[in-house]
Structure formats: structure tokens, C-alpha cells
Amino acid sequence: MKNFEIVNYALDSLKNKGAQKAQCIGTFSTTWELTALSGNIELLRTINDETSIDMKGYFDNKMGGISISTSDLSVIDEAAQSCLDNSKGAKADETPAMNEEAVVKVFGTPAKEPDLEKLIFRTNEFLDKAREMYPNVLIRQMIVLYTVEESIYKNTFGVDITEYEDVYSVNIMFSGFDGDLNSSFNTYAFALKDLETPIMDVALVSKRLAEAEKMVHTHKYPEKVVGAMIVTPHCLKDFLGQLMNAYASPNALVGGGSKWQNALDTKVACDNFSLYSKPLDENMAYNNHYTSDGFIAENQAIIENGVLKGMFADHYTAAKTGLPRRKSGGRFFVIPKGDKTLDEMIASVEDGIIINRFSGGHAGASGDLSGISKNSFYIKNGKLDEAARETMISVNLSDLLMNIDAISVETVNDGSSDLPYIAVKNVTIL
């Protein structure tokens, strides 16, 4: 049975149980994964035919859902019955929760088989180069994946979307060392369309390893400073995730308690700051062509020239709150480049820090956020100073956006985002 027939079967099964409205998302993938620990590959794992079928049915406007991991038809039939059973205790809710306009689309083509030899070669090549070029850096863990995926969305309104994707993902954890002394763990993760480029030459990999060697001997400034924080692109991605989760996600918006609930078309950031979610950007290693409620995904402005232009209210949240429906399913953040080089940004900081990793709490509804700046260097009088130890950063996400002082001309594409360095003023550094 082909994958689209399995999803059809699941949708029909829900209808046969009495669902007036229903949607099914089937995801079918195979992943090949290499894991290296302490510099040597120790595992080759294949996750064959990983299947996820998410079924959601509405029975007299009462919703029931289930997720199963097999395409066995008898299990699908049982799952449809569970959806019906699950809906029985639910309160009827007529709010629309999925695309109700028919659309049929296919994105991409079925992917190729992996070149396991090349996967192993590129991984060993990187591990050997790292040992040779950065003898004082230990690659603690490296995970290299190749995933091929077919994803199918269907609902009872005639929405029928199929997406084929294949992507390489690399996640490296490393630390510098000097005898028994070690630096804090660094991590660097990115996605690739292919393995044509040696991993050492991708994005900021080499720069990050070189920095790790300088992070073994750390220092802590004795006094609190209210100064500038330069956020690196990979760290900025974490801050953006916190921002969206606290202010712009369906969960933040549906309860009515988000700080951005009534902020559309108002100023929420500095004039020089724009933020987009671009799931269709062809420069990304992979794309996301549809949302989880069955709409064709589009690139979306979140903030343009400091003004809030869009959030991630799904169809249900939009109908509940009156907010516009999201165009993008989320993530794939892009911030246009600014007008200063990173060196110029550092040179303009009298007292501050450049932060590579943020180890902190989750921002709540207030946007208050504090945490430890990891893998970071102090900046003093316009120059990089010592590596920072146990240095706490305290910000509020709303203030952070309003206090952006500079954006770099350099941007870094990690396969699922394209971001610059940004400098933020008035940050409490302790």
C-alpha cells in the first residue's frame, strides 16, 4: 500500500466512524545516523520506515485525536474508534480548526538513497581534521543524520498536500581543554542539502572550534555591568524561539494573555529591525510547505522596521481571538543584514559581552529572561577580552527588541535560519 493510500484509509476510517470533519497527517521517513563519541564513531543506526499518523476527528463538533506509529490497517481502524471514544467527553466547539478550502499540491520529489560511504567519510574526515587543526579541542559528541521523508496532509474538505524532503543534519558538541582543565561544552548544529562541502568548512564550524581553545581559562568580572550584549547568529535563534513561544505562539495567544495580544501594527522593536519566518526560502537546506492545520505555507513578516506585522495564531486561535491567521507554520527565521561589520560592532562596545550560547530559563508571559552566557567573551574598550565564567545575563524580551543597537552585515545560514549578529544595549551582566 502506498503512503497516500494509508492516509486516505485513515481519513475514510474516521469518516466511517461518524466524523463530520477530520484531518490526517502521515509522516513516513527513514533516517541513517552516525554517532561519534570522544572523537570516534561508535554507532551506525538506521531508523527504518518511521511512521507517524496523526488522526483528528470532529464528531458533532467534539474533537478527538490520536497518534500512531504504524500503517497497519487494523491499528488504524482501532485508532479511528479511539478518536470517536476520545471525543465523547469533549465539549462541542464549532470554532474552525483546519483549512476548509480544497487544495491539491505536491512539493518536491521522492528522495535518493543515502551514500553511507560518503556519510562515514565526511564524518571521519571532520574528526581527523579537528584533531589535526585544533589539538586542544575534544569533539565530545558528533551526530550526523540523513533523513528522507514523505509527509502527507489530507482532510475532509479536500485538502490534499504531499511534501517530499531529504536533509542532512549535523550536531557537534565540543570543548577546549588544557591538561585536566576543560572549557564549557559548546554545541553547533546545522542542516545541509548535501555533503559536497567538508563539514569543517560549513558556516561557523571552524571559527567555533578555534574559539573553544580560548575558552578553557575563564574569568569573572567582579562587578555588575549594564552594558552591551552581542548575540551570535546561532544564539540569536534560541532567543527568537523564546520570543515566539512567550508572545506569538498559539498557546500564548489563545488564552488572551500574551503581551502582543493587541500589538499588531504597533512598534515593538527598533526601527532597524525586521524579522521574517521564511519556510519556503530556497537557501534553506529544507523547506516546510504546509501548516499543521492544512494551509499552504507562505513566507511571513513578523516584524518589519520595528512594527509587529504578524504572529503564529493557527486557524483555531485566529478564529477564537480575532487575530490574523499565520501564513507560516513557524521557525525558518530570517533577519535582514544590517550596516556594520562584526568587528565594527565589537569596536563600538565599551563594556559588554559576546554570547555564543544562552543557558537560561524559559521566558514566561512577562518576557523576563535570565540565564548564563556560555562560550562567551567579555568585550572591554572595543576589544575582545577574556572568556567569561558564570556570567549571568538578565533581559526582558520586549526591552531587548527595543534596545537593538546594531545589526551586522555578516549573516549565517545554518540550513533552517539566516541570521546576523545583533548588538543589544542596556543589558544587565553579572
Partner: protein
């Protein structure tokens, strides 16, 4: 699927090989403002096989429990081992011996109809809405999970395991004087079955009142003063301290990767008052929240005494790593999902209780903070740690003062534990947490209240 079905497929495998049938079952129900946002179940099942050859592992997984899935997983594991062994750099490395045996399951999972669970959550939500009229928003989120495993091995213990847990998270949001949202989250439940924890929604009035009152205090809260302070960590925080600040630092993969704990063995890392144990299945005469009798590598589980009277004694390890870090495998190799390989994980990690009363600990603090609940935490190989603090109070002249807004606690564990001067006499366990180290594994953590010094974020 039981062991008797799996075991025959291992005949012909002479190398260390594992064959695992694994199901993760979950119920997920979330109501926000009474609206059902999530009402779903998941049932993720499949076969995992792993075989060892010349210093490397080959592994493979397939969904479902069919004979084809079992055969394909075993064949894939062998093929991957054969491919990777060609470039292995540890061809002569041998895994340590482990004892053989069989361990049956210690409990059964009782499924409730989703409608029963939804009814309970709806009643609890209505109860909260009626009891606390001035909330800006409320969310009630139930997650019931059960992992069922049958593991057959060529070396070690075969095991059947059923490991349920359930919790309900309650998030309350209020507006402060400026109209800005302030939130707090509390958790009910723990290891075991739904019926072990939940009978009537009104049974939780005391906990709900405490949560609501703390939110009202937090609404008028102040920012903590950034810097190092005398702190009283509530027993609810001791568990995350055990897990994040110390536990990760002594996991064998981190030790191999340069954790500071590598050079601290048999050295003082805490005050005499500090003893920390990763329990396998029984602590202080009682079954722990998430008991592990045999891990997912077939190693019979034992406690790991990590710190005793302030001295670092041992590490947590899987079978592969144990000889490399001069210890023995004690059952810390755990896999989250059917597709996952076992990696080094904590089980029930706990700081042992002392003799002090919480009230006396607060009274003994002239200026500082009493920290009550946390949102998340992270660790580092340097033993630097951080926890997001979601509720706490100032302490002034031995008495509780104003509530504080969300902040972050940080420190260097092996320095901070040396500042522990008082330890409470009551342990609290939490079994609702999920550790995100590669796989989102459920862990239990526990401990008593502690008096110590560490750094708070703030203004």
C-alpha cells in the same frame, strides 16, 4: 510482545546483541480557558536491535511488532555493524561481562478511557475557574505516559518492564498593576498510575490555593537583586540540583568528553552533609517513582552512590563506557523510544535528607532568598549549572518577605555543594520531568531543602 516470542530470533547471534520490543503510550489533554486545545493519544511501538562488533555498534529499528519487523531490525543492525566495523579504530575493545538472568515486570498498566480522563480534567478546570475568579487565563494539561518494554539479550538479563507515570500541569496567569501578565505553573501527580494520584478534583484544593496565593504574591513581586546570596532551596529544587548540577556531570559520556568530575574522584566536592545517590528501584525502604530493575542493555540495575559525605565516589555508566572510566555498569543504559539506542541516563537521582526543619533554615538566614519552584535547568561539564526559578521569596531577618519575579539560579556545583550548611529532614520526589539529552527521557529526582550560597539573576 513477551520475551518468549523475541528470544528465539537471537539464536545464531554470538556477539553481544539486544532485541527490544518497545511501546510508548501517552494520553495528552490540554484545556485553556475551558477550550480543549489538545485531546489525543499516542501509541508508538516498534522493534529495536543492536549488535556489537569490533568496538562499534550497528543498530536498526522498524515500526510495529511483526515477524518482518523483528527480522528486518536484526538484519539491519548486523549490516550496519559490518559496514562500520571496517573503519573502527577500537577493533580489540571488549565489552565487560554482565550477569545473566530474567526480570519480570513489577506492575501492570491500567488504561482509562480518554473520556474518563477528559471528564476529570474538565472538572478540575471548572473547579479552578469557579474558585479563582480574577485569573487572566488558566491552562490544565494532563499527560499520562506508560513505557512497556520486552528486552531479549545474548548477554545479560532479559527483562519485561512496565513504567507508568502521570501528571497534570496547571498554569495560572494574572495581570499585575500595569496590566502585564504574570504566570505560575504547578504540577500534580508523579510515578505510577492515574488512580494512584487522582480521585476527586476537590482533593487538590490545598495545593491549588497555595499555587493561587503564590501567583497573587508574585503579581506584586519584585525583581531579585542580581548577585550571590544565601539561599534556601525548597525540597522541590533539590531534585533538579541533584539531576542537573551533579548528575549530568558524572555521566560516563560526559566524563569521557572532559567533564570536570573526571579529575575529582575520591575528592571532596561537597560539605560533609551531602550524600547523593542515583537509585535504581528502592530508596529508604520504598519503591522509587520510576523503578528500573534492568536497563535497556540487559544490565541488572544497582544504586550508584555518587557522593557520600561530600566525597565524589562513582560515576553513572553504560556497558561500553564502564571500563573506560574505571567503574562497573550498574544499569544506566536507557532508551526512550523504540527507535532509540540506550544511552547513559539517570534514573531516580536524590540528595539524601538531613536533620533540619525548613522553618529553622529560613529563621537562620539574615538576608537571602527562599526559592520554591523551577521551570527548567541545564548542566555543563564544568559543573556550572542553571535553573529557571519560577517562584521564590525574599528572606529578611529570618522571615519571608516579598515574592520575586522569574529569575535564574546559577553556580558551580562542586563549589556550591561545599557551601551547604543545613539539610532538611523531608524528601520530595518529582517524576514529571523530561531530560533532553538526545532523547527526551523521563527521570525522577528528589531531595530535601538545602541552605547554600549561589548566584541569582535579577536587576
Amino acid at each position: 510482545m513477551n520475551i518468549d516470542i523475541l528470544k528465539p530470533y537471537l539464536s545464531g547471534f554470538n556477539a553481544p546483541t539486544e532485541l527490544r520490543a518497545h511501546t510508548n503510550y501517552a494520553n495528552n489533554i490540554m484545556l485553556t480557558q475551558g477550550n480543549i486545545i489538545v485531546n489525543s493519544q499516542s501509541d508508538i511501538s516498534g522493534i529495536f536491535a543492536r549488535t556489537y562488533k569490533d568496538g562499534i555498534y550497528g543498530a536498526s529499528s522498524c515500526p510495529g511488532f511483526s515477524e518482518d519487523a523483528i527480522k528486518a531490525a536484526l538484519k539491519g543492525a548486523q549490516q550496519n555493524a559490518d559496514i562500520l566495523a571496517l573503519t573502527s579504530k577500537n577493533k580489540n575493545y571488549k565489552l565487560p561481562d554482565i550477569p545473566n538472568g530474567f526480570m519480570p515486570a513489577h506492575t501492570k498498566f491500567v488504561k482509562h478511557p480518554q473520556s474518563y480522563l477528559l471528564d476529570f480534567v474538565s472538572q478540575l478546570d471548572a473547579h479552578i475557574a469557579n474558585r479563582y475568579k480574577d485569573l487572566a487565563s488558566r491552562t490544565v494539561h494532563l499527560i499520562e505516559q506508560c513505557t512497556t518494554v520486552s528486552l531479549a539479550v545474548t548477554e545479560g538479563y532479559d527483562v519485561e518492564r512496565v513504567l507508568p507515570r502521570v501528571h497534570i500541569k496547571i498554569k495560572l496567569v494574572a495581570k499585575d498593576a500595569n496590566g502585564a501578565p504574570v504566570d505560575i505553573t504547578g504540577t500534580l501527580g508523579g510515578g505510577g498510575l492515574f488512580a494512584d494520584h487522582f480521585k476527586n478534583p476537590s482533593d487538590f484544593d490545598e495545593q491549588l490555593d497555595t499555587l493561587y496565593n503564590m501567583l497573587m504574591d508574585k503579581r506584586d513581586g519584585v525583581y531579585a537583586k542580581a548577585g550571590e546570596h544565601d539561599l534556601i532551596l525548597d525540597s522541590a529544587l533539590a531534585g533538579i540540583l541533584a539531576h542537573e548540577a551533579v548528575g549530568h556531570t558524572v555521566e560516563s559520556d560526559l566524563i569521557r568528553g572532559g567533564s570536570i568530575a573526571k579529575s575529582c574522584r575520591n575528592q571532596r566536592v561537597g560539605s560533609d552533609l551531602v550524600t547523593l545517590i542515583d537509585f535504581a528501584h528502592t530508596a529508604l525502604g520504598e519503591t522509587v517513582p520510576l523503578p528500573i530493575y534492568v536497563d535497556d542493555e540487559g544490565t541488572k540495575a544497582e544504586d550508584v552512590i555518587v557522593i557520600k559525605d561530600g566525597i565524589l565516589l562513582d560515576y553513572m555508566s553504560n556497558r561500553f563506557d564502564a571500563p573506560l572510566i574505571n567503574t562497573t555498569p550498574k544499569g544506566n543504559g536507557r532508551a526512550f523510544n523504540y527507535k532509540d539506542e540506550p544511552i547513559v541516563r539517570m534514573r531516580n537521582t536524590c540528595i539524601m535528607p538531613g536533620k533540619d526543619k525548613l522553618e529553622d533554615m529560613i529563621k537562620s538566614t539574615e538576608n537571602g532568598y527562599y526559592l520554591i519552584s523551577w521551570g527548567n535547568g541545564q548542566a555543563d561539564g564544568t559543573s556550572e549549572f542553571m535553573f529557571g526559578i519560577t517562584m521564590g521569596y525574599e528572606i529578611k531577618d529570618g522571615k519571608l518577605g516579598k515574592a520575586i519575579r522569574d529569575t535564574t539560579l546559577s553556580g558551580v556545583a562542586f563549589d556550591m555543594l561545599k557551601t551547604v550548611t543545613m539539610i532538611g529532614d523531608e524528601i520530595k520526589w518529582a517524576a514529571n520531568g523530561t531530560c533532553g539529552k538526545k532523547q527526551p527521557m523521563g527521570n525522577a529526582m528528589g531531595g530535601p531543602a538545602l541552605k547554600c550560597r549561589a548566584t541569582l539573576g535579577g536587576r
